[in-house]
Amino acid sequence: MIELCNVSKFFDQTPAVEELTLSIPKGKFCALVGTSGCGKSTTLRMINRLLTHSSGEIELDGQSIDAYDPVLLRRRIGYVIQNTGLFPHWNVARNIGLVPRLLKWPTAQVNQRVEELMGLLGLPVSEFAHKYPHQLSGGQAQRVGVARALAADPDILLMDEPFGALDPITREKLQEMLMQLQARLHKTIVFVTHDMDEALRLADMLVVMRDGRIVQQGTPLSLLQKPTDSFVDSLLGGLERGLKQASLTRVKDHMAPLGPHLPAQSRVMTEQTLRQALSMMLRDHCEWLTVVDQHDVPVGELSLRKLVKEAFQAQEKSRDV
């Protein structure tokens, strides 16, 4: 549980963050989104006291972060940055074992933890343990960066545009990896990005910032349905918003029971997104699809007309927690 209450940060006289109030429940993935210079990174860096907030209160699990020694606080919080910040003169294993060693874990335990994490992040120990950061590709390096942040098993993970410097394909792979990790580990994650698609894809909770203030916060779907102003609307993709919303919705949530008529030629799986279903309708010139389960058994149907009519309101509640 991370709570920020009326937090402001001034650099000299210029405000970077103003009167920010935000509560991130335990185990949630919260994305801070906005254009560069909107104060999202500043907010992140105030949580682990890399920056000291000028006013307001920041609390972790009900205790003010001012009560902690900053160094000890940071050892309890994982931190991942864009250009990995891996120590170039240390090999992968030593980089990952950094925080456990700072916490004076016994060597054997550190080594065991390092191996465990390398396995978790898909970095074979025999191949990577003794490599140096400059011998890694960008994607591998950022995997090591994430492993390093997770090493001491922190409850909170702060990620500052971690995938911003990667090519689109690698970025997508790492996003996938992060989603799988989060499904297993349930960390409280604060994730800064300017890539709205990334935020929509990963986050349970979206916070849009502009000029140091929160413009809107909520679940990705609620924002897509009802952006508060044109800024959020354009950030969410403007005209593309409908499709983005569709890509967050599963087919199974909108299918109707199998009708009396013959099954359609085109088939879509329950776990696929509405966006993929719509694309299929456009490609195959049809207004309805047969929905099948993973064994290719028809379980329902999806009609374009019905989709348009329903919009998405009813399903909103199921995602809202």
Binding site: R75, G85, P88, V99, Q135, S137, G138, A165
Partner: protein
């Protein structure tokens, strides 16, 4: 970003030790041979009565030279790195512009002029030379320490803070190791200049390897000059090649 070719650490090979070893053997050999090479030096200075420099043993001169340079270098390295570290800390930043400006401006001062100015202030002898060597030798070390520390990727330092390292841990485990190649290059420059400048110290009353050269010039005795010059040159080249090996090793550790 693509993965670069792998440089295994075994790229460091003992063969690289061959050069400094060769120069050192040559240095020792020449120092030991000089007293026995009467005929050779007679040929260099046919008119001279005496062709082997006798006022002091060459091993002794070499020892004094090394002592002066060694003492100066230890003080210089300690002070220089300390100063470079201090002005790059948060609380010392006030001094950074001035210190780096002096360090680069100071490179313009010829070592002879510095030595010559040290004498009126400090007098003749070994101590003034050491002081002059320290003052002059500080500049490249301070400059390179500052440059090396500034070159450290701010992202790496920021990550180190974010991981919960203390400023002391960051300095010792991250900043200094990463700046080491640049700092070592500064130390190399400093020591090379000091070996040469210390020889000039013979003109201000220090007794070292510069002595035979000065004596040879004064007495027009080429044999003395060549003896002194050979030993200094070999000393400088030996020390420099030792630094070369160190630098290669460091470069392997910090890509």
């Amino acid at each position: 970003m693509t993965s670069r070719p792998v440089h295994p650490r075994s790229a460091y090979h003992p063969i690289q030790l061959l050069w400094p070893l060769m120069w050192l053997v040559l240095l020792v050999g020449v120092v030991l041979m000089i007293p026995h090479a009467q005929t050779l030096f007679q040929w260099l200075a046919p008119d001279a009565r005496q062709v082997i420099y006798q006022r002091a043993d060459f091993t002794q001169l070499l020892g004094r030279h090394l002592m002066v340079v060694g003492v100066a270098a230890s003080i210089t390295i300690t002070l220089g790195v300390l100063a470079g570290v201090m002005v790059t800390r948060q609380w010392g930043r006030d001094f950074l512009p001035l210190v780096s400006q002096i360090a680069s401006l100071g490179q313009t001062f010829p070592p002879v002029a510095v030595l010559a100015l040290a004498v009126p202030a400090l007098g003749f002898g070994t101590i003034p030379i050491i002081v002059a060597l320290v003052l002059y030798g500080l500049l490249p070390i301070v400059r390179n320490t500052i440059a090396g520390l500034k070159d450290v990727d701010p992202g790496v330092v920021s990550a180190a803070y974010g991981m919960g390292m203390t400023p002391g841990q960051i300095l010792r485990q991250v900043e200094l190791p990463l700046a080491a190649p640049v700092i070592l290059a500064g130390i190399r420059t400093s020591v090379t200049i000091n070996i040469a400048t210390a020889a000039l110290g013979a003109t201000v009353g220090a007794s070292n390897l510069g002595d035979p050269i000065i004596a040879g010039i004064v007495n027009a005795n080429n044999a003395y000059i060549v003896q002194g010059a050979m030993v200094i040159a070999l000393l400088a080249v030996s020390i420099d090649s030792i630094f070369e090996v160190f630098q290669r090793r460091l470069r392997l550790h910090t890509p």
